[in-house]
């Protein structure tokens, strides 16, 4: 099993004249579960988007390593789920996962995809357009996409938004499973989720 390391060195991001954060140092290994907290605008989502490769840092660098070797394109091996991440409204949940699996070179056979959707309690609505999904179901689909293929690094930006109690339980299971073989970063300000992490990073403090 690969040993994964996520390292951020002197990381900083500026939008216009305003620095969101500067000089951030972070190193996490397999099994780490980091909760990122902070007030609105403190840079929680920005940090996760930087790590995902969706934003470029203004200064510093980010590296994902497998057994000490840098992963060249980390964007395509990470799992990312954000409450405001848009989905294709005119595709079904199944079509989303099938497309995701094909573009990422993951198993795309029907039984495997349906089993994964079943895990997120979406199998019974798998062939409905996403525009017909509730907020909570869309969030479950985002989680299903983020976790498909067991990514070594899972980035969750307020993934608890819109989830019912069973969804929150599922989210906790996802985090437990992730930390068995990978790294999880979880941005939230929800008090009941604070205990889910074994490390915490307070931004804007």
């Amino acid at each position: 099993m690969a040993q994964w390391t996520l390292a951020c060195h002197r990381l900083g991001k500026r939008f216009g004249e305003r620095w969101v954060f500067r000089g951030l140092e972070l190193e996490l290994g397999t099994g780490a579960r980091l909760i990122v907290r902070g007030a609105n605008g403190s840079g929680k989502s920005t940090l996760l988007r930087l790590i995902a490769g969706l934003l470029a840092p203004t200064e510093g660098r980010i590296e994902l390593r497998a057994n000490g070797r840098p992963v060249p394109d980390r964007t395509r091996v990470i799992g990312w789920c954000a409450a405001d991440a848009a989905l294709y409204r005119e595709l079904t949940g199944y079509e989303h996962l099938h497309w995701w699996a094909q573009t990422r070179g993951l198993p795309s056979d029907r039984p495997t995809l349906m089993a994964h959707l079943e895990r997120f309690e979406l199998a019974h609505r798998a062939h409905e357009w996403v525009r017909a999904y509730s907020t909570g179901m869309r969030q479950r689909l985002r989680l299903a996409l983020a976790t498909y293929g067991d990514p070594p690094l899972l980035l969750l930006d307020e993934p608890d938004a819109g989830l019912d109690p069973s969804g929150l339980k599922l989210l906790q299971q996802v985090l437990d499973e992730q930390t068995r073989c990978g790294i999880a970063l979880f941005a939230t300000n929800r008090a009941e989720c604070a205990a889910w992490g074994d490390l915490a990073l307070e931004l804007g403090a």
């Binding site: 954000a82 995701w100 094909q102 573009t103 070179g105 993951l106």
Partner: protein
Amino acid sequence: MRSNWAREALAIWRKDLRQEWRLRQGMVAALLMGVATVVGVGFAALGQTLSVGLQAGLFWVAVLFGMFPALARGFIVEEETGTADLLRLAARPVSVFWGKWLFHATLYGLLSAALVPLYALLVAPLGGRWDAWLLLWLGGGFCLTTVLTLCGALVAQTAVRGALLAGLTFPLLLPLLLILIAGTRQALEGAFPAEPLQGVFGYALALSAGGAWVFEKVWRE
């Protein structure tokens, strides 16, 4: 299972086709503009014999007008609906570029299938060298699709889309349009347009080499 860029590009193309089939926004807009242009030109030229130069120019103007609305179906919609992040995470830039290119090329093929007979019926019969016509259509379509895909991606990243779109596409499309018109004129006259075809395929070669590279630089911030 390992992924390769061609498989990823095909997956993106299939996704776009499925969305287009369900919404029919890009194709309807393209057909509306293209057909309106041809019908308008046909009405204006009613009872007149157009010169071959004018025929060639009007043909490519109609194709260009039709293809422009399709531009928004590629990247601008992905950015405006917020799904571009999902796309960035799913596939490598080269696959995204060629996946979108395939989608635009499909629209070009469908648009041509509707416009060519309509043009022949309403404006002027498309006579001359058919082999030259076919090569010009293929080469011109490749270049047009590549320019529109690339410009769509660049424009989608900015806030001032309208002005930038015109500013970016004009210098890239104008030389292509002039070469295509010159080639089509020769084809209509029954000559083989060797030099214009060299120009079109040279342009296509430069675009295919540079397009994906430029795209990679702009696709991820």
